[in-house]
Symmetry: C2
Subunit: 346 residues, 2 copies
């Protein structure tokens, strides 16, 4: 491996001059620059990132901490991780994946050993134990998610409340007044996943405001109980003319449950949902739904992180809490009904 010294010798200049063209932080005459670049080319020289990190105190690495609670639909995390890596790369950063069970330990380890310049935390919950560890580390960070209290840490997330309102409004505008709400399991609520609460609270509030009846159905904690629970919910739907879904697995399994019950969408029942867009695409989920926006959220998170990482020490930056507006993709799963009778419009 060629070093900066080899390049300097080859080009007949000093190491500092080579460094100047590498960093681009100093002016070098075109001629010597040219000579140096040729030497770099010839020797296949590349900067040793460890040495550079030691000299600059910047690793150009971002740590991404995902906590696999087991409760969550882990495949749905993948798009966010990949989108984060892409966004980081566009800014010149690599991504260290921290998925070990002991997330607090991971944060301590990589920050103390100076492995990363900044951190992104995924699947945040209220009172997340990772936040104090983050605070103690003093490393720039951003949350991909929006806990009740982000403790001064920047956070970026989809606006789940707005998403819920828009879906409810959509149903209302089509005449639906009685809606079944398939929501995340009690364990997810209890774990403090704030997106679950935000969606739920906003959906119920919006429905109340519009004078709609919304019957919540809790998805079971155990995956194997879900098909049965869906079947029950659909059978016991009463006069509901529409279904609002906010649970990954429920969105995937609902088609089967509806078919089992001999119901057609949207003829017999309208459906709107919020679930992972990637999953929906691959499985052709046929429901009008809110996009999960992994790419935009990841880009927003990296932008917020860059702002912190590149801030001067004396900059007093305000906390960024960014809620991205939901976008709805219409897949024709909502049908207009007459509000009074609850029956499909002919």
């Amino acid at each position: 491996m060629a070093t900066i010294g080899d390049v300097a010798r080859e080009a007949g200049v000093s190491r500092s001059t080579v460094s100047s063209v590498l960093t681009g932080r100093k002016f070098v005459t075109p001629e010597t620059r040219e000579r140096i670049e040729q030497a770099i080319e010839k020797l296949h020289f590349t900067v040793n990132s460890g040495a550079r990190a030691l000299a600059t105190s910047r690793t150009m690495v971002i740590g991404v901490v995902v906590q696999l609670h087991g409760l969550e639909f882990s495949p749905a995390l993948a798009p966010f991780v990949f989108a984060l890596a892409d966004a980081a790369r566009d800014a010149g950063y690599d991504v260290l994946m921290l998925s070990e069970a002991d997330a607090v330990g991971a944060i301590r380890r990589v920050t103390r050993t100076r492995r990363v310049d900044g951190m992104v935390l995924l699947n945040i919950v209220d009172d997340d134990p990772r936040l104090p560890a983050l605070e103690a580390s003093g490393v720039p960070a951003v949350l991909l998610g929006m806990p009740r209290d982000s403790r001064g840490v920047d956070a970026v997330d989809l606006d789940f409340a707005a998403a819920a309102r828009r879906l409810v409004q959509l149903l209302h505008a089509h005449g639906h007044r009685d809606v079944l709400f398939l929501r995340w399991s009690p364990a997810m609520f209890a774990a403090g996943h704030s997106f679950v609460h935000r969606f739920n609270d906003a959906a119920l509030a919006q429905a109340a405001e519009l004078g709609m009846r919304v019957t919540p159905v809790d998805c079971p904690d155990a995956a194997e109980d879900l098909p049965g629970a869906l079947a029950d919910a659909v059978r016991d739907r009463g006069d509901a003319t529409a279904v609002l879904v906010h649970d990954e697995a429920a969105a995937v399994l609902l088609p089967t449950a509806l078919h089992d019950a001999g119901l057609r969408v949207p003829d017999d029942l309208s459906v709107v949902s919020l679930h992972s867009s990637d999953l929906g695409r691959v499985l052709s989920l046929p429901y009008t739904s809110v996009e999960s926006e992994a790419v935009r959220i990841a880009q927003g998170a990296i932008a917020a992180l860059l702002r912190r990482m590149t801030a001067a020490p004396d900059d007093e930056l305000g906390v960024v809490l960014e809620l991205l507006p939901p976008r709805i993709t219409d897949r024709g799963s909502v049908r207009a009904v007459t509000p009074d009778r609850g029956a499909p419009v002919r």
Copy 2:
């Protein structure tokens, strides 16, 4: 941040002695060791990984390269990535996630800048363009997947051929002689995903050997065409008494298609499958199937990589090509039929 010099001063010893207890490569008398450990504790000292990397030429980081072809079911990759990170961590390594579109560029970049000690490549295809780049880099590596020609690189994968044989044998043992084979799309075959070929070839060969009729059904390249294709396949199944599935999305959507057709499993039709275990678990896919073994494969891959990374330069290591034996989980989706009539046994 405390440095090794601070610790040395605090403990009243030299920096080299501190280093000796840090690395554990030299004997230090218990008394001085004790003093040093107390100083480390007191100052909250942690080794600066960049400095250590520079001094030792080892980063303790493994690069994981995933190529998101767009064709594949990307959420199914997540379990492998997480399992790799876990296995690496157990061996003291962190994982750098490389998911950018230009995988070859990523390999060049992280190896030339000495960011990693080794690499793991996921979703390998035949004639994978990443292999030459890997070879050129000279960095230890392992493939998670088994291309036709691994070009001297260690590779670990599930034994897809054995998996196919065992599933076919299982159907045969239960009397099935006419089987529908829902297989990956032509684009996946064309892309050279060897697991797709290995499963397919072995399934067809085993069936022929056992005198079974197997009718392959190509899943469509476009996700949105899959539901229709499944419906067609099920309707036109002829005298088939069982379905063999090797396609993630097909495994997920088959229940709906069967329900649509008014068919019950296993009463009207038996089903066996190979799909992501995690996905199957979360969605409660009700089919007897081969486990995808993300954890065992990842552990095997990291073990193989460690062997290379820790080998002495003059060790002439043989190439490791490891195919893990498939394990079948019985979910009662196979029913015994009488071979002659093809009708269910009453």
